[in-house]
Symmetry: C2
Subunit: 225 residues, 2 copies
């Protein structure tokens, strides 16, 4: 059976490489979307939007390969968890790409000037989220459970940023009704970034389960204002 | 092989029944959340929130059964699409439940009086979304492609409601800065409802693919204000 085991390992490596490639695409898309907010650069926003179909295609490819592996190789226990994790991590990354696309679209709606004048704290939150996404992809590539748990634990910090930003944007709207439309788009941008952070946390949970076979417990530290 | 085919069919029926049970739970959760907005009833909102763990558990159960079927029965082509569709529809329904939970949580934040005074058009949109979710579950139970395509086509109507509501809430905030916090929660509630509508549309696409083997094309009619 050594031949079969090796073929299985080769297919797993191909699958893992695909997931990492998808993660890199999602990161680039988020990076363009964030830079478009801060620099008010419509071209970067357009580029982030145009990247999205490539992510969708890659995610579908990973899903099909995972299902085929499960059907044809009939892996059990530890081996079964790996294609399932790949498939589910791919879904989470594809959703990160969608959310980054929505951030870019809203940046275009606000317009360059509006984006620049309000957006510094939003961008800071975005950079924090991008760092978490990078860290969890590293943890996946290295099969490092400790790194994955770190990302999971740190999600509370993103929530804290989000809650502060939310309160700040509401206060701004009350002071200056002219800013309501732009601030509302920024509220949704902040929400989308928080959700990308949630996906990074989901991915951390999937890595933990893939490697250890044990679910991370539900009572993750949560910031609640 | 007749014995095996029958066992496969029995497992499929069990899986489909599980998906429908999950859909019914998601509908009840949405219904409680919507009634809590309109009646300003905190108890209904709490009930919607408390329903969520049951949905999560059922979705995980469906996923495990689907994966086991794929691994042990090695279905091909049409037969392979059925457990995959069940698994993915379950994920979409579980997300609908999360979104309904978030609607309920925001209703509690606005408070009963605030919810009632602003919420009639939000509730109307919610009832439309709930009807779509019901229709797509019927289509799944009946394996009716035409019904599924109807839901898919009608998503533009939900988008139209959402865009109008969004514009209306922004105008209200500008007129009455005191209302900004409540209106912001209502904006997110409307967004969550629109996303439940998107999940109903995704489920319609999954039903179409499961039964026909063909993807619904991307250029769904979209309302854009």
């Amino acid at each position: 059976m050594e031949h079969t085991v090796t073929a299985f390992e080769n297919e797993l490596t191909e699958l893992t490489d695909g997931v990492i490639a998808l993660g890199v695409l999602a990161q680039s898309q988020l990076d363009d979307a964030l830079s478009s907010i801060f620099q008010g650069d419509a071209k970067l926003a357009q580029r982030a939007i145009k990247r999205d179909p490539a992510l969708d295609t890659l995610a579908i490819d990973i899903e099909r390969k995972s299902v085929r592996m499960i059907a044809l190789r009939q892996p059990m226990a530890d081996d079964l968890r790996r294609p399932i994790a790949a498939m589910k991590i791919a879904m989470n990354l594809e959703r990160c790409g969608d959310l980054a696309k929505n951030v870019a679209k809203r940046t275009l709606k606000i317009g360059p000037a509006g984006a620049v004048s309000f957006a510094a704290p939003v961008e800071r939150m975005g950079r924090l989220v991008a760092a978490r996404l990078g860290a969890v992809l590293n943890a996946y590539g290295a099969r490092n459970v400790t790194q994955a748990v770190d990302v999971w634990t740190q999600d509370a910090e993103i929530d804290e940023h989000y809650e502060q930003l939310f309160a700040g944007l509401l206060a701004r709207m009350a002071e200056d009704p002219e800013s309501i439309t732009a601030c509302t788009h920024l509220l949704f941008i902040a929400k989308n970034l928080e959700r990308i952070g949630d996906h990074a946390t989901n991915i951390a949970e999937l890595i933990h389960y893939e490697i250890t076979g044990v679910e991370l417990v539900e009572d993750r530290p949560k910031f609640d204002a």
